[in-house]
Structures are given as C-alpha cells and as structure tokens.
Point group: C2
Chain length 424, copies 2
C-alpha cells in the first residue's frame, strides 16, 4: 500500500466496467432468446453457464426446510435480529401522501403508492450473501410491495446456498427461482411461463447482469449499476492503526477490483497502517484477492490538514466512508458525497454490512455524488394530484390559455377556454 | 376515434422507440467525438445537425435582454406567476435529514444533501417550451442544486427562442449553451472546454437525446427516458363531451405518436365525444398531427361499470389521468398507477401543464407503474449515517463476526473483533 502526498495525487483510479462489444452482443442475444422462448431458454442457459440441468426453476418448500435444518438455531437468531434491525431502520424512511388546500377550492398533492412487484437478483457462488437478500427485500416489503420474486444462479449441484434460502424464508419470500446472469434479468423484465414480469429489478451481479439491467432499463426500473466495493477512511492521530488496517482489508477481500483508501493527516499513522496491512494480510484466507486489491487500488493519501482531507473525501465520493477523528460528528456537515458514513472507532464497516440497520446496497464508483443507498423510496412512486375548482379556473383560464398559445399549442388553450361556457 | 368494448380490447398500443442499430452507433460515435475533441466536436455537430455555424456556444447577456424586450410585460407576469406556483408546490416536497438514537449510544440516520450540479436539456424547434425550463429547473433549485446548466439546440439563425431565454432568466439561470442532440448530452456528461460536467441530466429530447442519456447513465444520473405524451380520461355520464374531446385533442396535438384514450361507462358520452373530436379537429392549427395521433393511438374504451374502468386505467398506467366522474375524490384510492391525476371537470390537463404547480415531467409509456413525476427528491441524495458506541459494539461484535464468517468473509469478522482488544 503506497503512501502519497495529497499534492502529488492526480487522480483516483476508477474501475468502471462498461463491458466489451462481445459481452453486450451476447447479452442482447440472451435477452431476445428469453423473450422468444421463455423457460426453454432459461433451462438452456442454466445448463450452459451454470453447468446444471434443472427439472424445475422454482425452489421447492423441501429445499427451504432443508436449509433451515442445516443451520443451527443460534445462527438463525442472529439472522433474525439483523433482519429486525434492518426493518426498523427502513420503517423510518417511509413517507406519506399529502395534500395542500387553497381557499379558492384548489387541492394539490402527492399520492404515494408502492410499486406492485419487484425482482431481486442474488449472485451465486462465493458472493451468495444472506445479507444481500435482507438488504434488497426489506426496503421493498416496508414500502408495501406485495409481489417479490428472487432469482439466483444454482450451483453445479442444482442447489441454492442454505444461508440465502434461510434469509429469504425469514422474510417470508417463497418465490425463488434458480436462474442467474442476463437470462434471469430478461425473465424478470419480460416474464416467462414460470417467472412473472416485475416492475423493478434490484441486486448486484457480474458484468452480464449489469449489462442486462442497463438493456432492460426503461421497460422496467432498475437500481444503480453497482461497481466494485470501496472504502475510504478519514483518520487523524486518534485512530488505532490495527483497526484502520483491518477495516481496509475487510473491503479488499471482496474483490481484486475493490478499492481501499486511507486519507489521513498523520504521517505516523500512515506508516503504521502500511505495516499493519502487511502483517494482517499474511494470514487472511482470501489474501490473494485482498493483496491484489490493495496493490492495485489501495492507497494512503497524506493531507496537510483536515479540511484538505475532507475535500479529498468529497472528490472521491466513496461508497463507504469511515470517519475516525477526534470528534467525528464535527465533520459530518462537511461531508457532501458518501454512500454510508461510519462515525467513530466502533463503527467498523462490517457493522453496517450486516447488522446495524442501514442498507448495504450503496452507490459505488463516485456515484454517491448523485445516488443514494437503496431505500424505501425506491419502491414507491408518487402521483401528482390536481383538483382545480370552478373559482380557480375562472381566475386563471385566460393566463393558462395565453401561456399555451405562446408555446404554439392551440388545442391546449381551447381545452381550458371550453370550460368558460360554464360561466357564460 | 374508435369505440371499443372493454372485453374486446386485447392490448393498448405502446410506442417505445428503442432506436435503430444505426442510431445507436451514431450516438456512440458522437459521444466519443465529444469526449475526445470537446468544443470542436460541438461546433462541428451544431453545423451538421442544426445548420448553423456558431461563434460562441454560450448565450450572451444581450441575447437574454433582447428576449425580455421582445415579450410583453403582461406575459412576463404570467410566466412569473406560473414559476411561483411551481416553486410553491415543489417546496412542499423537501425532506430533511433525520437521526434516531438508542440508549446504548447508537445513532443511525439519513443525511440529505443536494447534488452539486445539474444539466437541463430543452428541445429546440416547435418543442422549445418555456414551461419545460420551469419544470426541470425549479425542482433542482428547490433541492439546493447550486450549479445548473441549460443546453438547447439553436435555430438556423443561431438563436434560442425568446420564451425559453425569458423562462431561464426568470429563474436566474445564466449558463445557457446552444447545443442539442446527443452531443449536448455528451458535453454535460463528460465536460468540454466550455461546458462543465454535471452530476445529473434531465429533460426530454428526440431519439438521439434519449439514446445518449441511456448511454451515459451510470457516469451521471439521468431522469427517465421519456416517450410520447399520453392522456387517459375516465369519465361517466356527468362529463361534458365537448370538454372531454378538447382535453383529448390537447394531448393529440403534441405529437403524431401521442396517445389519447377515453375510458367510460357511458355509451352516449362515447358517441358524443367521437363526434366532438371530428368537429373540433376540423379547425385546429395542428390538425394534421392531432388527426394522425387520434387515428393511430386514440381510442374510446367502453366499460360495463366503474370498477372495470378503474382496472383498465391501472393496466394502462397513464402519464396523465383525468377523472371526470360524479365524485372524483372517491376514486382516488383505487388509482394505483398514473403520473398525474386531474380530478373533476375544471382540472383540464393544460392546467397542470403550465400553471397549477405540480411537475409536467411525468412517466410515460406505462412507466407510471414504477416512476414518479420529476420532483425535488430527484436532486438530492441520502447518505446513511452509522455511529456505533462502545457498548453497542460490545453487545453485538460476536454476532456480526459470526454473520461475516457465514458469508465467507473472514477479514470482515476480524475487523470487528479487532475492537475487542479495547475492552480486554
């Protein structure tokens, strides 16, 4: 992990993967095959890409029951507590319809309605996380979405990991389909014999999933297209090097393309963290991944003062930001762009990944400049409500007609003037 | 305009334009040229596509002053009143940061911050609407976006329409650039010598603009990709045929691909509206467009009862919905999907297009199932805030570590356990 002075830093490496032309072409072919052949295409691609020939796409109740038996009761309790925390936090995000009335009789407002159906993509393999099930589904449930469908690629044994099934079961989700990749996104967007069309698709995935989401966007809604995970830690001399290093590594172990940055005003901390990273790396199970990530995308940025450090943070707009300084709350107002902000030495990033309550689906790759964590608002839509009274229209009809004519829209003007017959 | 019984209706024609392969290719080329050559590419494309060779991309203060002089004072007042109404409505949409505290010291919350910069696309030609300037820019201003840039294609005379300049001036916007099409979107997404990079791009445009927005999505945020405008009117025997017909035509005059639907329980109203459409069409200035739209995408759907009519409305998920029934507020709870809902006979759609206050940038093409009108929330982002106390971490560290290990993420577990040193 290199230490670099802020003044010498020209840019932070970003790792947007837009996909190759070949990948884009193959995603389009897959989508088109699923639209034309439905389930047949899903079985075919599952055999080709996941190496398993399935008899049924839908997970059966026995499989969920088996997952329940396979995991011990204490663990089930932990999962349940995490789900409760996540639900509690998201319940605070709900908003309500509102109206505003005028004395002339006008009523204007916003009516909030949940979307009807959502599809959640849960990646397979080593990235099949029960926490992803919680983080994607709970906001939808809190919003009031009644039809929630989960898709996830099966292993070579045709199974879905126990933890994922258990997490879904805890949430009461029983529509789970064994299909992944672009074909799963296509199925949720356009429907097949088995899988229903949904209004919104969320959840992370590989480049094929990301490209497919971009392709179907507009026909259905999608969440942001996620890039590799990132952490930035803003620390001063009060931070403990071992803790900082362990938090950086927790991000680095995700993916060789993950990015871990320390932004500090303290040279001795920088040196110590660099050393700690080496020590702790040595006996991590996923050390190959973590080392690749640290070497390619890890960096310690030395700043002259806290304001410069904060400026650097805002330029980066990190997905996860830890603030480990003397008085972390003092810095909160100065942070403009970050997906999730962890304040103080006890708010290690994994606290938020699994358990505290806020969502771990966060804007990556600098998109925290304009995007939010997945939240309840993502699963509702707002309709404007306009009720004009006779008095209001009498007062304003001529102005509205004049405005319409300036825009060259005569029929608009006449539609309003047509009502004037009523008070002639 | 055909009358069709609900039972016989199989599907509503949708007009999604995904663009041809050639259009997609040319959009990619344009984006790449703007990224590589900056302003030079913008001047080049403006000459090619808009047929004008510009000396400067930026609108000069004299041009805004000239627009001001060209329009009469009374009209300026109408525009100002509309802007005030729109601002008042959108100010009711603002939300605030919040925190939740626990007795164990944990603080969880959501910090709301405006995005820093937004770019607004305003179409040129006959679709250069001052109201679009208001509807796109006011929500951004209310949200607290400080840097707002407007792009719009110049006419062959190198000018931007007076109404558009005046509307921008009323809002205090002075960064206006004469560039349109995919090249304008590319400029806002990636920046040129003259045009700065923004965080979010909104505003309607032709297929090249729509494809370019889809292409840059992810690097910057975009609003929904708008399709042709649509209206559905739900009416019973209390509705006045002339008024209903005039409202349908106000939609039809926008675009030959616009869609105007009447959904009614009353056969005599259906017959009368059909007749009225013919009569009113005869002397509309934009009758060619309106007739093409009505013939291809207009329809009167006869339902057996109000519930069937409401079901039909929800299937369509119209952009604009008028409810002209005996007690329109009684129906509001049954309407699940609509961009904007106009209640009662005085709430003619143009009331909302220009003047009442709610936004006219609405989800088209059935996307009201999952999308909202443009609103203040579109210009803020929410950061999660997590502050765990020592007590909270002591209580939960083992659970969090166990959860991490189930997901195969050892470094996550160790990051949390590292803190246990503190209370040993």
């Amino acid at each position: 992990m290199n230490i670099i002075d802020r003044e010498e830093l020209t840019s932070i490496k970003r790792r947007v993967d837009q996909g190759t032309e070949d990948q884009r072409k193959s995603v389009k072919e897959i989508i088109s095959a699923v639209r034309n052949q439905g389930d047949t295409a899903l079985y075919h691609y599952t055999e080709t890409f996941d190496g398993v020939s399935l008899h049924s796409l839908k997970v059966q109740p026995e499989e969920i029951e088996a997952a329940y038996q396979a995991l011990d009761g204490e663990f089930v309790e932990i999962l349940q507590e995490a789900a409760d925390n996540i639900r509690q936090f998201h319940e605070k995000q709900t908003s309500t319809s509102w109206f505003d009335t005028s004395t002339d009789g006008t009523i204007l407002g916003q009516k909030i309605t949940p979307i009807e159906s959502a599809g959640v993509y849960v990646p397979g393999g080593t990235a099949a996380y029960p926490s992803s099930v919680f983080m994607n589904i709970i906001p939808a449930q809190v919003a009031g979405v009644t039809n929630i469908y989960m898709v996830t690629p099966p292993g070579k044994d045709g199974k879905v990991p126990d933890g994922v099934l258990l997490a879904a079961h805890i949430l009461g989700i029983d529509h789970i389909y064994k299909v992944g990749g672009a074909q799963a996104i296509a199925a949720l967007a356009y429907g097949t014999e088995t899988i229903p069309t949904v209004d919104k698709i969320t959840g992370p995935g590989n480049i094929f999933v990301a490209l497919a989401k971009r392709e179907v966007f507009g026909d259905v809604d999608i969440d942001m297209i996620a890039g590799p995970s990132e952490i930035a830690i803003l620390a001063d001399e009060t931070a403990v090097a071992g803790e900082v290093a362990s938090d950086l590594l927790s991000q680095a172990e995700h993916d060789a393309r993950s990015s871990s940055l320390l932004i500090t005003t303290c040279r001795s901390l920088a040196e110590e963290v660099k050393q700690e990273i080496e020590t702790q790396l040595a006996n991590l199970p996923r050390k190959a991944i973590a080392r690749a990530s640290i070497e390619k995308f890890g960096m310690i940025i030395l700043c002259r003062h806290l304001d410069e450090a904060l400026e650097t943070v805002n330029e980066i707009a990190p997905e996860h930001l830890e603030v480990v300084t003397k008085d972390p709350f003092q810095q909160l107002g100065k942070i403009k762009h970050a997906g999730a902000i962890f304040l103080g030495p006890y708010s290690s990033e994994p606290v938020g990944d699994y358990f505290a309550g806020p969502n771990h689906v966060l804007p990556t790759n600098g998109t925290a400049r304009f995007s939010s964590p997945l939240n309840v608002d993502d699963f509702v839509k707002k309709s404007s409500v306009i009720s004009y009274s006779e008095e209001a229209l009498q007062k304003n009809a001529d102005k509205i007609a004049r405005f319409a004519r300036l825009e060259g829209l005569e029929a608009h003007a006449r539609a309003v003037e047509m009502r004037k017959e009523r008070w002639k």
